[in-house]
């Protein structure tokens, strides 16, 4: 069954793809290899997974303000996520996605992080006024 969740739209765009879900925050600088899109933070729940071409769910950003450049480098190499879904996006993520034209939404409820499954197909529609994230439940 599909469920549509209304979120806040930060960077407009649409994407359909496989979900990659982390309940823990992500630091793009230090946490993600800008050359491969692989999560390299030791002990991170997504350690070893590649974020490229995925709809990436994580609650918050963390760490270095250079993270925006990691998002931008990934996009230049066509290794960026298809879209990013947060509970609360911070400026580091927002500017990275603005420069890289990656659809970004936040105010996705934390409790749904238990429901969205890795590899399930999700759709993100981020329009001017609001965003909708469609997940399988």
């Amino acid at each position: 069954m599909k469920k549509s969740i209304v979120c806040r739209s930060l960077v407009c765009g649409e994407a359909v793809g496989e979900a990659l879900v982390s309940k823990e925050p992500i630091s793009f600088y230090g946490g993600v290899d800008p050359e491969t899109g692989k999560i390299v933070e030791k002990g991170h729940p997504l350690e070893g997974k590649v974020i490229s071409g995925k709809v990436l769910f994580f609650p918050y950003g963390k760490g270095s303000t250079v993270g925006s450049y990691v998002i931008y480098r990934l996009a230049k190499k066509e290794l960026a996520p298809l879209a990013i879904v947060n509970v609360k996006s911070e400026p580091i993520i927002v500017i990275g996605c603005v420069l890289s034209s990656i659809p970004l939404v936040d105010q996705f409820p934390l409790e749904y992080f238990n429901i969205v499954k890795n590899s399930s197909t999700v759709r993100v529609i981020a329009k001017e006024d609001k965003a909708i994230v469609v997940i399988e439940i």
Binding site: K62, V66, Y69, Y72, I95
Partner: protein, 395 residues
């Protein structure tokens, strides 16, 4: 979003194409974050300077802004680069890396930036209480907001760059009074006797990983800090493990409430969980290649402690690499200390330079921030208290 006449003028291109583009991007970010207007900033500190970190994509972005005639409209300082600008020959870097790093600095200087190349702008040019600033660099943001009461969000590197050009930032989140209230309370019950209390960076890192986001009201840490350096290590750790731009620390932050506000979620620092986090970023190293200190950059106070140890005990037993701001101590004039196994660098740090090129793979640090980033970069890292490191290096 409300825009002033002057801002509309900029947006219509009267003040040049680069300023127009910068403001367009700031408006876009501001609208995304729900800002109702922009606010003028007095100064900026731009992160994302090291070629190692920003790569060709970052270099090209900065190059384009500079070559299109962009310039900073407020005093703008820069975070550390990927090498010491005077001593890079000692860092064993490739020609390509050096050339590209020098170009990044050149472009930013052509736009009017001051090559401070340090992550402690708050020690060199501190903002005042309630001053609106546009700062990148997570530890500097935390210090400015939490210790000095200045106002900045966690501006991503390129956002601070565009804000420096436009002289404005979205008036939202930590720039406004209502977002500077505590969202969670953290009590640190570590006693002074606990070994972990000598690792303020780890305590900050641990609290950051617990709190994740929002504004923590923190009690019980002031008591374990022995110096401003401990506070800086703490904030650097906090900003590494969390998306936190302001901490209200009892006894330190001018805006911290006197009592724990009621109805706040209360968290406690648990020593066992602290140890778990320690093990994520530290391993025991039998034969370290070097000790690396200066994340955040050391002030002269800490540097003098090291030099004092040399005066008393002579040459260090371990290779010591220390990073300090160029405005405090000149690395070139301190070259003579190399005979004591002490290498002092300006303009860079262990996280954003290339330690491997310098022959270092196993390293001892006193900073949880450095431990986290270096571990992620594949180094073997051991985190130890500053004083213990000094004792070990000079026995």
């Amino acid at each position: 979003m409300y825009l002033s006449k002057e801002e509309e003028r900029i947006l219509s291109g009267y003040e040049g194409a680069v300023k127009q583009r910068a403001l367009e991007i700031i408006v876009k970010v501001g609208e995304a974050l729900g800002a109702s207007r922009l606010i003028k900033v007095n100064k900026a500190h731009v992160s994302g300077i090291s070629y190692k970190n920003i790569g060709d994509a970052g270099l090209e972005l900065i190059e384009e802004l500079s070559k299109s005639g962009g310039c900073f409209s407020v005093p703008t300082s820069l975070n550390p680069a990927g090498m010491d600008l005077k001593l890079w020959k000692y860092m064993n870097l490739s020609e390509d890396y050096v050339e590209k790093q020098l170009r990044i600095i050149e472009y930013l200087e052509s736009m009017g930036a001051k090559p401070l190349l340090s992550c402690v702008p708050y020690l060199i040019n501190p903002p005042s209480f309630k001053e609106q600033i546009a700062w990148g660099e997570s530890n500097a943001i935390l210090y400015a907001n939490s210790v000095l009461g200045a106002r900045t969000n966690r501006e991503g590197g390129p956002l601070a760059l565009f804000e420096a050009i436009a002289g404005r930032a979205p008036y939202v989140e930590l720039r406004t009074n209502e977002f500077r209230k505590p969202t969670v309370s953290v009590f640190c019950k570590l006693s002074k006797e606990s070994w972990f209390s000598q690792l303020p960076g780890l305590v900050g890192f641990h609290i950051g990983s617990m709190v994740k986001s929002g504004v923590p009201y923190i009690t019980g840490v002031h008591e374990i800090f022995k110096s401003d350096y401990d506070l800086r290590l703490f904030l650097a750790g906090l900003g590494t493990a969390g998306g936190i731009g302001l901490a209200l620390i009892k006894g330190i932050s001018p805006e911290a409430p006197k009592e724990v506000p009621k109805e706040l979620e209360k968290l406690e620092v648990d020593e066992k969980e602290l140890k778990d986090n320690y093990e994520k970023i530290s391993v025991e190293i039998e034969k370290p290649d070097a000790i690396a200190l200066g994340c955040p950059h050391l002030s002269n106070k800490e540097l003098y402690k090291i030099i004092q140890a040399i005066r008393l005990k002579g040459r260090a037993h371990k290779r010591m690499i220390v990073f300090v701001p160029r405005t405090m101590s000149n690395s070139l004039s301190l070259m003579k200390l190399r005979r004591y196994n002490l290498e002092i660098y300006n303009d860079t740090c262990m996280v954003v330079c290339d330690l491997k090129a310098m022959g270092i793979e196993r390293v001892i640090v006193d900073s949880a921030k450095a431990a986290y980033y270096l571990t992620s970069q594949g180094y073997e890292v051991q985190l130890m208290p500053f004083n213990e490191i000094l004792r070990g290096a000079f026995t």
